[in-house]
Structures are given as structure tokens and as C-alpha cells.
Amino acid sequence: MAGPLHRRRERLRVDQERTMSADVSYSTAFQQGVREEMQRDKTVFVLGTDLFDRGGHFAQVKGLGDQFGRTRVRDSPISEAAMVAAGVGAALAGTRPLVDLNFMDFAYGAMDEIANQAAKLRYMWGSPVPLVIRATSGVAQGGAQHNNSLEPWFSGLPGLSVVSPYRPYDVKGLIKSALRGSDPVIFMMHKKLTGARGPVGDDTELVDIGSAHVARRGTDVTVVSYSYGVRLATQAAEALAQDGVSAEVIDLRTLYPLDTATIVESVRRTGRVVVVDEAPRYGGMAAEIVTSITESAFWYLDQPVHRVTGAHTPIPHSPALLDAILPTEADVVRAVRQVLADGPQEAR
């Protein structure tokens, strides 16, 4: 488990936005969405470790234990295989389990239950598995085994949807959709966004799985990203605006199914693209996004698409090393300037 990470969480909060008091945090948005769905549908229940009293290590279900009791907020042994298997069977039984794995990295311990069971049972047996698996994702601190990027693993498994929201609004809207869906959803919430604040919708507002969101309008270049990468992209776009560059930022929100229509529509207008993804470069989501653009908008491109990604390494402990392998706002700005330049480009 991640003692050091939890201790540093407070420090990370300093780096996070706090705006209007009516806004709620990324974690609270999740809790609100789950609570509303648990009130609406008595078959929705939550299982995982340290949920009932603590409300999860990121306060993601804080207060739900007291409100719904131990049958619907179930503290489980630390067995990811058993947690997900319990969720798969209960989903087949017609209930709507939300399995909390704390850290996405721990999903490796339940890979059979996710990949061989949850993802395939509708196809093999015709029986849907309305299961949501939530975990905290993305790179913060905590070293090589608390910061894996499993997005391409899960997105590559037929049968799963993979969601990775940036804004509290989308966290709430997407968890509500996920808990009403009929098929498994991997719900990834970035560590560094835990305390980020923003407005959320009311109990009737849902966000469709598979729909991207244009986070910022622009005309010169399209920056495509998701999760914490949207913050880098937005900050870069603001910096570039001061030099007269108009960058459009697309927040994918869902990685599978990918909303290629929104990406392509933007690319056809701007003709230039940068994809930002903090996950390791090789075989990552960025590669899939670039391919989709190439298939559907190649003749609209004025320059090759650029990727700004993490290095192809595990995640180090030392902040000095960590900073060296992760994309930064400056990297995004540099990439945008490169794709805006005319003439042939050197490959990075």
C-alpha cells in the first residue's frame, strides 16, 4: 500500500485549483454521483478496502458507509482477484457492483477476472456484466508500482469501456452513466486531480460514455489529451494565446470507445495536431489516437502529428527523476510550435 503517497497527498493539494465555494472536488464529485445512483437504484453497491469508515483512500466514497450500511458499502479483504470476481458474479446476478481497487496498478492482481471474465462474458454467454471498476490512476508519487498507466491495456480488451475524466463535472456525469450501463467500465481517476474543484451537474445530468469534450476552442492547432494531460494542454494553450496562437483542446474523457468524430472534426479545421499523454510512449493511447487521425483526416493535415508522452520507463521515486520523464506544459508548448512551423520537420 502507499503510505508515502498518502502523506504526500496533502502537499499535492497545494498544486490544485480551488475556486468557488459552490464547486466540489474531483473526489466529492465521484461520491455525489455514486450516492445519487445508490439512492436511485438499490442494486448499486460498493466493495473494496477501507471504504466503510474511511471512505476510501481518496475520500471517494466518504459518508456512504454511514448512509447505506455494510451490505451496500462492503469492506473486503485485500484480494483484488476476489473483489473483482465478487463484482463479476454479482453483476451477472443482476446487481450493479462498484469495485474500488484503490490504485489501478493493483488491477494486475485481478487481471484474469477483468480480462478473461468481465470483458468476455457478454460475448461468450450473452449475459451482460454491469460492473464498474474504479481506481486511482496517473502518475504522481509512490514509485514504480503505484503509477502504472493501464489505459492501453484495458482499452485494448474487447468488452471494456475505459473512462478517465478531467473535470469534476465529468467525474460525476460519467460515474452516473457507468452505473446505469450494461457492460463493464474501468473508471480511472487521476491522483493529482483528487482535490481539483469545479462545478458538477445535478442528479439528472449524465455524461455519455464515449463522448469527448472540447475544453477550449481554437483555430490553429488541436491538442488532444485526457485526464491530467488536459491541464497541461490547457495551460499550454493559455501560454500560446499570449503569442497569438489559437489552440483547441480536446478532453477525450473516454478512451474506449474513442470519440474520433470530435477529434476529426477539429483536425479538419486546424490541420495540425499534438497529442498529450503522460503514459509511456510505446504502444500507448497516443499511438491509437494518432492512427485514428491518420485514417480519417490525413489529407487535412498540414504537418505530421506530434506526440508528447511519458518516457518508456517505469516510474522512479525521486522527484528529480520523475520530472525528467513526464510531459510538462513547456513540452506541449514546444510541440505546438513545431507543428505550427512550416516545412519538413525532424522526427523527435
Binding site: 470476481a85 465478487a86 453483476a91 474487447p158
Partner: protein
């Protein structure tokens, strides 16, 4: 550890059903023999794993449950599916990969399922079926239903970590789960006793704080009693039960396997002294419930059912290739 067998009489069994139990066992035996032969003739893509010799395990267990109770299986699960009442033709057509198979040709021998009949899938991953049953048992608790779930796994599965993680979760949450280790002596080609620490699988399970018993899996009546008691316990909120059913498979791990890991003698000993069908026939005869003519009639009926199934599977159409990428998930649009 004591091995539970049934007593000399048939007290406590539903006497009117006993001949149907026998019919189920005869059907399973015949099905497996014919399916094995058809596999060797190339009719079953990917091969199959016969459970000949293990008929009492499936029939005793399923008869100990209510018809709406849930069963999940292993890679070797035709006997579980047939005992659960899946249509014989549909099962064989599924092995063939035909459109009329129980899951439309999407599953095959290792992935039979029929949720309406309580067969929550046979599973190609060792130990995984128990997880489905454990989760199914949890679902019943959350829904407030009184159905119980029985998960089969093998002696091979007893050496995977996940099996014990499932048993532990069921024990601490008091789920209505019956965890059934179908110990047929060999894990693929390895004698399980050579790779299994401890006294027995059942002894290991007892450490998780749930009732755990070794049962003579060649004795359909003993299996029935053990499962019925476990089901009643689960249904009344008493939590899970662990059963190790001692049985034996006559054929290899899969059809056509060249067997080097055991002697013909060993197989013959099991076949001649412990065959579950012969033992049950002797029992029924002693009790005056069966005579040779009745046995002949039931044997012929089983053969006829399987013959019909073969015809059905042979004559059934292939699934429409244009549907191959359908029904992956609501999130997937036409397989792209």
C-alpha cells in the same frame, strides 16, 4: 480426514427421482463417449475434455440443489451442464460451433452456459468458475434472494491462489456459496498429490473457518446429501461450505491424449470397483427399485437422446459470419 459415504439404504433421498438420477448419469456417460469419438473425428474444433467417470459428482451435486440455484463449472463441465438440464442437442451443437449451440457457437466445450437453467458458465481458466459462483452468491445476498451458488473447480484449481481468495471472501462475508473441489487425482498430467502440500484439499479449506468435508465422489447419494446440507446452510444464512469430492476420470485430460502418466491398471481398478454408475445400479437393485429391463430401457433412452443430439448438431447451420463481432458490449459499435 473422514471420507463421507452414504449409508446402506437410501433414506432421505427423494425415492421417486432416483431412477431419473440414474438416467442423467447414463446420459452423461453416453454423451461423453460419443462427444469424445466425434472430437477424434474432427467434429469438435479445439478439442474437449471428457468427464467420464465423474457422473456422480455432477448429478449428486445438482440434485442436492434447487433448480433455480446457480452452478458454475470448469473446463471439464459437460456433466455439470447436462445435470443442470441443458438441452443435449444444444450442448453438442455448441461443441460443434453451430448456431443452435447453447451460446450460439460463441463458447464451445469450455464455455457452456444457460443462465435460465442456472448454469453460470463453464470456464477455461483454472479456478475462475468458483469466482463467478462466489460473486453470484454475493449478488443473491444484495438482492435478498435465497438462491445459493455452487462453484466447481478441480484439484489443479486447488493450487491456485485465487481459489483461496474466493473461499476467504465467502467465509468472511458468509455468502451462500458451496465451493466444490472435484478431485479427479490428476491436474492435466500431474498427479495432484505430488504437487499439493498438506493433508488434503478439504483440510486446507477448514483453515478458513468454514465447514469442510471430503466426500466419496463416486457415490451419488453421498454427494447429494453433502450438497443438500450445504445448500440448506447457505440458504438459511449459515454461510459457505467446502466440499472435496473424490473422483476419477477414465479418459485423458483431453480427447486423444496419449497417456503416459498412469497405468492401465489404475484405470481398470477404478472402473471395476468404483464406477459411479455401476455402484448406483447395484444400490438401486438391492433396494428393489431397479431391474435389468428398466436399466436396459433407460440405457437405450440415453443412447437415443445422444443420437438425436448428434443428428441435431450435424444438421444445424453455422452461425452467420456477419454476426461475429456483435454483442461485444454496448460500448462497442460493430466490432470497430
Amino acid at each position: 480426514m473422514t471420507i463421507a459415504t452414504s449409508g446402506p439404504d437410501l433414506d432421505g433421498t427423494p425415492q421417486a427421482e432416483l431412477l431419473d438420477w440414474l438416467s442423467d448419469m447414463l446420459l452423461i456417460r453416453r454423451f461423453e463417449e460419443v462427444a469424445d469419438e466425434l472430437t477424434l473425428r474432427g467434429k469438435v474444433p479445439g478439442g474437449m475434455h471428457a468427464a467420464i467417470g465423474q457422473e456422480a459428482v455432477a448429478v449428486g451435486a445438482v440434485r442436492g440443489l434447487r433448480s433455480d440455484d446457480i452452478v458454475s463449472g470448469t473446463h471439464r463441465s459437460h456433466h455439470h451442464a447436462l445435470a443442470k438440464g441443458l438441452p443435449v442437442g444444444g450442448v453438442l451443437a455448441e461443441l460443434f460451433g453451430k448456431a443452435t449451440g447453447v451460446v450460439g457457437g460463441r463458447g464451445g466445450s469450455m464455455h457452456l452456459a444457460d443462465f435460465e437453467r442456472g448454469m453460470w458458465g463453464s470456464n477455461g481458466i483454472v479456478g475462475a468458475g468458483l469466482g463467478i459462483a462466489m460473486g453470484a452468491a454475493l449478488g443473491q445476498v444484495v438482492k435478498g434472494s435465497d438462491q445459493v451458488a455452487l462453484g466447481f473447480f478441480g484439484d489443479g484449481g486447488a493450487n491456485t491462489g485465487r481459489v483461496w481468495e474466493f473461499v476467504n471472501l465467502a467465509a468472511v462475508w458468509k455468502l451462500p456459496l458451496i465451493a466444490v473441489c472435484e478431485n479427479n487425482v490428476y491436474a492435466v498430467e500431474t498427479m495432484s498429490s505430488q504437487v499439493t502440500g498438506g493433508e488434503s484439499v478439504a483440510a486446507r479449506a477448514a483453515g478458513f473457518g468454514l465447514p469442510s468435508h471430503q466426500i466419496d465422489g463416486q457415490d451419488v447419494v453421498a454427494v447429494y446429501h453433502a450438497v443438500r446440507e450445504a445448500a440448506e446452510r447457505g440458504r438459511s444464512g449459515g454461510g459457505p461450505t467446502f466440499l472435496e469430492l473424490l473422483t476419477y476420470r477414465y479418459r485423458g485430460h483431453n480427447s486423444g491424449e496419449v497417456i503416459r502418466y498412469r497405468t492401465e491398471d489404475e484405470v481398470t481398478r477404478w472402473r471395476t470397483s468404483k464406477d459411479p454408475i455401476e455402484r448406483f445400479c447395484a444400490r438401486l437393485t438391492e433396494q428393489g427399485l431397479l431391474d435389468p429391463d428398466e436399466l436396459d430401457r433407460r440405457t437405450s433412452a440415453a443412447h437415443a437422446q445422444v443420437d438425436d443430439a448428434v443428428r441435431f448438431a450435424e444438421e444445424s447451420p453455422w452461425p452467420d459470419p456477419s454476426t461475429a463481432a456483435e454483442n461485444v458490449s454496448a460500448w462497442t459499435r460493430s466490432g470497430r
